[in-house]
Amino acid sequence: MNNWEVEIDKLIAGELTESEANELMEKINADPSLKKFYLSEKASKEVFEYQIRNDTRALMAKLLEKEQKQSKESPKSTILYFTGIAASLLILIVSVVTINLSHSDTALADEFNINVIASRNGATFSDSNFTQALKAYFLNDFKTAKEKLALPAEEESLVVEYKDWLSLMILLKTEGSDSMEFQNQFQAILNDENHEFYIQAVKLNKELQLFWRNFVVRK
């Protein structure tokens, strides 16, 4: 290969400095045979590049098609994503409803009602005012229940702590666990380890302190 052929190769490859390229171009333009050589070399190189570009373009079109297919598929993923969120929300709602049903103030009052506890303790009630209060409570007649509880019992000392608990349950059902009145009476039982209903009060307290109770409609 002649020296000028090497130089022309370098010129076409863009390997010459600007001044070198300008100098060589002047020579090429002044010499028809050099110009013919230069143009034929340039044409052949560009034709090769043209072919490479065409094939690369085809390869890229394939890649683009693949990418577009993936983007078309993505709505499915989006649907799945939202379905997942909807399912999670549904589970959350069901859980909250369940928690509400089992941990509302009313539900807790039913769970810790005096009848169950009294039967567990084997207690019997002979006092008529207290028994009437109890009956009214189970008939959801809390006003009468309160009134009967306010009346003195025949054997007050035997039922006084039962009256405390029944009164607390009435407050739980009527005023709710957040009411000041309920809290005062509840704390009084919790502070008295000798109270007949102390253990039940501790258990009830645990239920009332549950994290899930934050999502509960109390009353």
């Binding site: 863009g14 190189k45 560009e46 390869l59 890229m60 890649l63 683009l64 693949k66």
Partner: protein
């Protein structure tokens, strides 16, 4: 599954190497780098058409690929920034060709960025026919070498496919094919594409 390229150096080597590695590098740059979104954002921000994005990306990538193979990338920025710059300039160049002067200031800046070596020339249909005619004059072997190379076969694979001695022989063959084509043009001046007479 595409190869996980650790850095730009590895990507450049893969693009230069050819073969499956080149294809993997293209997938990485073209799809996984998020360049399409970046270009789409730029074009839509500048009020361009979203439909142009694929074309712009494709043509910019061809310039990018060419510049990488011819060592014109000076490594002054990351590969994705380089491709983004080419795409940006290509799009502005295209607008200039369409005689839209909205982005005149940016187009002035365009003239100053010579290191990109972007090829603005868009080959017209007549030239395409002339180029295709020239490609038809190649020998079967040369056509195969060129086809294999541009279809992402490395020189090693080309040597194996065409039963050549080794990688270096395949490389030399490609060079000789180009030289033969140039000689053929010299001997048959009527084959010279008209753009070289202008």
């Amino acid at each position: 599954m595409s190869v996980n390229f650790k850095n730009d150096e590895e990507l450049i080597r893969a693009l230069e190497f050819g073969g499956k590695l080149r294809e993997d590098a293209m997938v990485h740059i073209f799809i996984e780098s998020g360049i399409k979104k970046r270009i789409a954002n730029y074009i839509s921000y500048k009020g361009g058409q979203f439909e142009d994005v694929n074309d712009i990306l494709m043509e910019s990538f061809l310039i990018f690929d060419h510049n990488i193979r011819y060592h014109k990338f000076k490594k002054q920025c990351s590969l994705s920034t380089y491709l983004f710059s080419i795409a940006k300039l290509y799009w502005l160049g295209k607008i200039r060709e369409d005689n839209k002067t909205k982005y005149y200031d940016e187009m002035d800046a365009l003239d100053g960025i010579e290191n990109l070596n972007a090829e603005w020339k868009i080959i017209n249909d007549e030239t395409k026919i002339e180029f295709n005619n020239l490609l038809d004059t190649l020998s079967k072997k040369c056509k195969q070498i060129l086809k294999y190379w541009s279809l992402s076969l490395g020189y090693k694979e080309i040597a194996r496919e065409l039963d050549l001695k080794n990688e270096a022989t395949a490389r030399k063959q490609k060079h000789l094919c180009q030289k033969k084509l140039a000689e053929h043009v010299r001997n048959n001046p009527q084959l010279m594409p008209t753009i070289y007479y202008e």
